[in-house]
């Protein structure tokens, strides 16, 4: 087959240019209940939602340039639910006036053939972990409190070991690019979780 001409591809559908605004922190196991209690009070009145997810991180390496990273998640609690494929761009710290880390973000729901398909595309699994925890929402804000565990035997999610004596706490919002005002809401929400948890924008260039 002759080499086809390459042009900019037209996007047929999808939500382009979504950004994830993110604040992160952690809470010690013994303070988890206090945090959950507070979140139940602060967040939208909803049924407490728990999750148990297995995340597989794939890399696609070119001969030059940096590897391309994709994250595939599946729910351990709902094995028939679709997989969740996620691309995350380079995080931007921005200036002091923006209170959260911002990165480009593409979320794709996908069928269970995802691992096979990624393999065929040339992706190779780099590492995996299990996250179990709770999800809270307040309007567009999303709070995830989760225990991150390493998988001791590759692929066996029953054989896991917690990474630390803390839970990871993440506050995030998905918004179209340029809506920096959401970071203001995030900051005031994070303020209400103090002194239990300090949610910060963790700068990759820090230290």
């Amino acid at each position: 087959m002759e080499a086809p001409p390459v042009t900019v591809m037209p996007v047929t559908g999808g939500t382009i240019n979504m950004m994830e605004y993110l604040l992160q922190g952690s809470v010690l196991d013994q303070a988890l209940d206090s945090l959950l209690h507070r979140l139940r009070g602060l967040c939208d009145n909803m049924e407490p939602e728990s999750f148990a997810d297995h995340e597989l991180v794939y890399l696609l390496k070119g001969q030059q340039g940096n590897p391309f990273m994709l994250r595939a998640r599946r729910s351990l609690a709902h094995p028939t639910a679709p997989w969740h494929l996620r691309y995350l761009g380079q995080p931007e710290v921005g200036d002091k006036s923006r209170h959260a880390l911002v990165r480009n973000c593409v979320d794709v729901a996908a069928s269970h053939s995802l691992p096979d398909f990624l393999n065929e595309m040339g992706f190779r699994m780099d590492h995996e972990f299990v996250a179990k925890g709770h999800v809270f929402r307040k309007g567009a804000l999303k709070v995830v409190v989760s225990k991150v565990s390493r998988v001791l035997v590759p692929g066996n999610t029953d054989n896991i070991e917690p990474l630390s004596l803390s839970y990871l706490v993440e506050l995030s919002v998905l918004a179209p690019a340029g809506q920096d005002t959401v970071s203001e809401d995030m900051r005031s929400f994070a303020e209400q979780l103090k002194p239990l948890v300090h949610l910060e924008k963790i700068d990759p260039k820090r230290v």
Binding site: G14, V108, F117
Partner: protein, 215 residues
């Protein structure tokens, strides 16, 4: 979704693509089929840039990303012979992000557009297959919505197709022949898309019909 069969219909001797399509429409209408909107199926081709994927698999397989108006929020990604992936439309956005590793072969975009007919439990879609804005052929998709087991309804479908396709009735599609007897997976339109992909590949290889540019 029921059992679906996609086939290519040859252009009548001495007629244009449009005239052949009109003939098919007329035949369907004479049968009593009712027009029910339009449809499209499209297919983008991607090839891995030389520096992506392994050196082990050369030449690397082409990646096809397809859409079907019947499932407008889905995006179907296929390698010839599998594996196949059903995803939501954000997969298109992901392909943009991946463009340093997978390049879109724009000239290879193939699509089939046309009219959708309903005849009792049958859904018939007659489409003009175009590539680089030139008409390359005609596709006919017949779906029998009342059954999900190909073996149980194939003869019925064949008989129905004979009524307007005459001698052009295809054999049982290989997607079904390859599968063990039993339930057809009805949840997505992947089996249909695999058939369209086969048809598009055939069309891509065939010569351009002289003077058959799209209206």
């Amino acid at each position: 979704m029921g059992v679906t069969c996609v086939c290519q219909v040859p252009i009548l001797e001495g007629k244009s693509v449009q005239q052949t399509v009109d003939m098919l429409h007329k035949k369907l209408e004479q049968l009593g089929a009712v027009k029910q909107g339009s449809f499209f199926v499209d297919c983008e081709t991607y090839h891995a840039t030389s520096n992506a994927s392994g050196k082990k698999r050369q030449p690397s397989k082409l990646l096809y990303v397809m859409h079907n108006s019947e499932t407008p929020l889905s995006c179907l990604a296929l390698f010839e012979g599998g594996p196949y992936l059903t995803a939501d439309v954000n997969f298109d956005v992901l392909m943009v992000k991946l463009k340093s590793h997978f390049q879109n072969a724009k000239g290879h975009k193939v699509e089939s557009r046309g009219t959708r007919y309903r005849y009792c439990d049958f859904l018939v879609k007659v489409g003009t297959v175009t590539m680089s804005s030139s008409a390359r052929g005609i596709s006919v998709e017949v779906e029998y919505c009342a059954c999900v087991v190909p073996g149980d309804c194939w003869n019925l479908m064949k008989e129905f197709m004979q009524s307007f396709l005459g001698s052009n009735v295809p054999e049982l599609p290989s997607v079904f022949a390859a599968k063990p007897e039993g339930l057809y997976a009805p949840v997505d339109c992947m089996d249909t898309m695999v058939q369209y992909l086969e048809l598009f590949s055939k069309v891509r290889k065939q010569q351009v019909i002289p003077g058959a540019s799209v209206r």
